[in-house]
């Protein structure tokens, strides 16, 4: 099964409530030469009870039900473009396709007297160009799937991550990309905890996998890589570590390896705490966060100090490559993973991936990617990269961020946060962006 490009919709940015219908008009113009909204293949509808607006548009599904319900073969999934094509000369107007679609993506146009659907304007959708608020974006992330799904998943099925955890996704995607000539080290934490290193003599990974100490992942891999270099074998030394194993007790080893520019691909999956052992605070835990060791009581309202910004510290080692990433922006992550993998042939490459924890941060398991997204869009977790000798470069705009509440409100760990704390967090976010901008040569 294959999935492809599609138009993504962010309801929180949509301006329908301000009478914006730019996308609808643009579509009607392109498809009919008129402004008649009935000709638009994109429909924005008011959200119920004051919620954000919603979208009726063909999602160009991977395994489309409309195509399966079509008796005439007028609808087909184009294997090249991924689009669901509609052929007028074959259509018998039976409307069975509209039964297949759950999202109002193919509808009867009474003026044209046949069904009509989005054709993505040959890859340059008019609605996206017309959208003034950025609510509509043309996303090609599915192309990652097309590229990657042929590669072997190098973890066994059935890892026992908590529901909604994005670490498993990070693990599977990353190792699929990095490939089988890899030695993987996963220091104590959620990643081995969910079974990647196996149990009692079995393995959870199809590449050699090691459960190093919480403290020594980077130096262990550095030694291993040196030996393979000596043997003339190209083996990737890769770490999937938590923030504790990377930035707290593991930091000395990490810093040493970065300083020596050892050829290691080090991925830190940052869930801001010791989540595997029951949600204790780490150096990466953010200010104000509830954890089991920074609890909320009459004398204490969550963590009293700010988080250590490990990615920035790593950048200051001047190793080959340092970047931050988020699973809400997977394309961005894939580009960075490519660069990091390549950089790890030359020296130390460090990727810092935000991994909101539904269990420990107290948000619904369906919201993980949304929390990731809001983290980036509020500048709480800005996306950037740094290549040795160059300047820091933002890979997602830091302009016009959402207020930090938009991020904090999603997680129960900030539920108690007072106005003063909120102001402090916003100030910290602003300060951090200012610092990053200096490294980016912006002022």
């Amino acid at each position: 099964m294959t999935a492809y490009n599609t138009i993504a919709f962010d309801p929180s940015r949509c301006e329908l409530c301000n009478d914006c219908d730019a996308c609808i008009t643009a579509c009607a113009q392109v498809k009919s030469g008129t402004d008649n909204p009935l000709h638009s293949r994109i429909k924005i509808v008011a959200g119920f009870n004051g919620n954000d607006p919603e979208l009726a548009l063909c999602r160009q599904c991977g395994d489309p039900e409309c195509v399966k319900s079509c008796p005439s073969t007028a609808l087909t999934k184009n294997p090249e473009t991924g689009m669901i094509d509609w052929e007028k000369s074959l259509c018998v107007d039976c409307l069975l396709c509209t039964v297949g679609c759950t999202y109002g993506g193919i509808t009867y146009n009474a003026t044209l007297k046949h069904v009509a659907k989005c054709d993505l304007c040959d890859g340059d959708p008019a609605c996206v160009k017309a959208c003034p608020s950025g609510a509509l974006t043309y996303v090609t992330s599915a192309s990652i799937f097309n590229e990657q799904h042929e590669r072997e998943d190098l973890f066994v099925p059935g890892l026992s991550a908590c529901q909604g955890c994005n670490s498993e996704m990070i693990m599977r995607h990353s190792l699929r990309k990095v490939g089988p000539d890899t030695v993987l080290a996963t220091p104590p934490g959620c990643i081995p905890g969910m079974g990647s290193v196996g149990f009692n003599g079995t393995t959870g990974t199809k590449v050699p996998v090691f459960h190093p100490l919480l403290t020594n992942t980077a130096s262990m891999l550095a030694g291993l890589k040196k030996q393979y270099n000596r043997m003339g074998r190209n083996v990737t030394a890769m770490a999937l570590a938590g923030d504790g194993g990377a930035g707290d007790v593991g930091f000395q080893s990490l810093s040493g390896a970065a300083e020596r520019n050892d050829q290691v691909l080090f991925i830190c999956v940052d869930n801001e705490g010791y989540m595997n052992t029951g949600m204790q605070a780490s150096g990466s835990t953010s200010y104000g966060s509830w954890t089991t060791t920074t609890p909320v009581g009459s004398q204490m309202k969550g963590k009293r100090t700010g988080q250590k910004n490990l990615a920035m510290i790593m950048m200051n080692h001047n190793c080959e490559y340092v970047a931050t990433a988020s699973t809400a922006f997977v394309e961005d992550y894939y580009e960075k993973l490519d660069k990091a993998l390549e950089a790890s042939e030359r020296g130390f490459a460090y990727l810092h991936i935000y991994s909101p924890c539904p269990t420990g941060w107290r948000f619904p398991s369906s919201q993980t990617i949304e929390v990731c997204r809001k983290g980036v869009e509020t500048n709480f977790a800005p996306l950037w990269e740094y290549e040795r000798g160059g300047e820091l470069r933002f890979t997602h705009s830091i302009d016009n961020p959402l207020p930090v509440e938009a991020y904090l409100n999603l997680s129960g760990k900030y539920r108690h946060v007072s106005e003063e704390q909120l102001a402090h967090i916003q100030e910290q976010v602003n300060e951090r962006v200012k610092t990053l901008k200096r490294f980016a040569g912006m002022n």
Partner: protein
């Protein structure tokens, strides 16, 4: 003895979806499909359009031969299942071929019902269920002037309209006093009937045929009220039912169709059934029902295949919901779910000014029970899902009644991200 892991009898929507679903999780086990057609797979729904000439037989092929090759599926055409030995897990085909299977899916569809009308056995007439039937009817229509269609069900109505498009004088004879009984209420039926009348089709409702006899190139049809009709072409479209002779000697329980559970398992081990051949769970009641709807056949094929291939993503069949998207002479009648109110059902009806547009919403405890419309923009798929998921409309009740289209779209869109 031929052997296969999966044997799928039938190669229309249910069978094809099943093969597709199996291949999603099982890339290697042999799949064999058997179809009685010599023609490559097609949809029975397309046949009336073949009659009118709008669709060409060569352009409505659901899966081309390379699809079967790519998916490593062995297609046995022009042959059909005649006997099952469930103990030995073997089937015998009409050609005498025998196949050993591990898992068998019966997706053989349904066949026309031939009513016990005196004289019919010696009279030439048409039915419309296979491509062969459609081509024969099309060729005959090209030579005939007049056509009589027995039955105002879906096939009869589509057949009649398409014969009209092909230029014939058409008469419909229906025992009931409305068209499309069971799909639409009488008000909708009357709009449809009117359109047929307006387009020159004679509608003889509440009429019963007592005898037919050959006459010249065609036949003469005697009605109960004493009238008689002469025609060159007779299309018998009085319903369909599955042909189940191949079940003889098996433990596969059946009534009008093959009885299945919510995973499309029959009462016999290693045998599943899907599509028009089944009599499956009713979404609305306890008694199993015959459904005969294309999207439902796709769903049943998917459920059966996921159970056969032990796909853990399987969601049990939620039960059959009547759905009809009926287009006639440029108008649309859409009905999803129940069309008639009963006790405990709230009925809300709205008529357009010109009486041609019409909308009826049926609610039970603020859940959508059924919705039907004439000439209204309607997302049938969204309404189907609102019913199947038993979405509580209480918070959006007023909006839904006022604007079912937009509200339905907002509800389903909110489940997407």
């Amino acid at each position: 003895m031929n052997t296969t892991h999966y044997l799928i009898a039938g190669a229309s929507h249910a069978g094809l979806e099943a093969a597709h679903r199996i291949r999603l999780v099982d890339e290697t086990s042999p799949i064999t499909m058997v179809t009685r057609d010599a023609h490559p797979p097609y949809s029975p729904t397309i046949l009336p359009y073949v009659v009118s000439g709008q669709s060409e037989p060569g352009r409505v092929v659901l899966r081309k031969p390379d699809w079967f090759e790519q998916h490593n599926i062995n297609l046995v055409s022009d042959d059909e299942l005649v006997a099952i030995d469930e103990a030995q897990r073997q089937v015998t085909l009409k050609s005498g071929q025998q196949w050993q299977y591990e898992k068998l899916l019966l997706a053989t569809g349904a066949d026309p019902i031939i009513p016990p009308i005196p004289g019919l056995e010696k009279t030439p007439f048409h039915v419309l269920r296979t491509m062969q039937h459609a081509v024969a009817l099309r060729d005959h229509a090209g030579k005939a002037k007049r056509a009589v269609v027995l039955g105002a069900g879906l096939i009869g109505m589509h057949g009649a309209e398409n014969l009209r498009h092909a230029g014939l004088e058409v008469t419909i004879v229906e025992m009931c006093d409305q068209v499309l009984p069971g799909y639409f209420d009488s008000r909708a039926a009357s709009v449809i009937e009117e359109a047929f009348n307006d387009n020159g089709i004679r509608m003889l409702m509440g009429s019963r045929v007592v005898e037919v006899e050959p006459e010249g190139e065609g036949c003469r049809i005697q009605l109960e009220n004493g009238d008689s009709l002469e025609t060159e072409l007779l299309l018998v479209a009085t319903g369909v039912r599955p042909q189940l002779d191949f079940l003889a000697g098996t433990s596969v329980a059946n009534d009008q169709g093959i009885l299945v559970d919510d995973r499309m398992r029959t009462s016999a081990d290693n045998i599943w059934a899907a599509g028009d051949v089944t009599q499956a769970t009713d979404f609305y009641g306890d008694k199993p029902v015959m459904m005969g709807i294309l999207p439902d056949a796709v769903t049943q094929g998917a459920v059966a295949a996921m159970d056969m291939s032990e796909d853990h993503a399987l969601k049990p069949y939620a039960g059959g919901v009547p759905i009809n998207t009926y287009t006639f002479f440029g108008q649309q009648a859409i009905s999803v779910g129940q069309s008639m109110a009963e006790d405990g059902i709230e009925e809300l009806t709205r008529l357009d000014d010109d009486n041609r547009g019409y909308l009826k919403i049926l609610l039970r405890d603020n859940q959508l029970h059924g919705i039907s419309s004439i000439n209204q923009e309607m997302d049938a798929g969204i309404m189907w899902q609102l019913i199947l998921r038993r979405v509580d409309l209480t918070p959006v009740r007023d909006a839904f009644i006022e604007r079912p289209l937009e509200t339905g779209r907002a509800l389903m869109s909110s489940t997407w991200r």
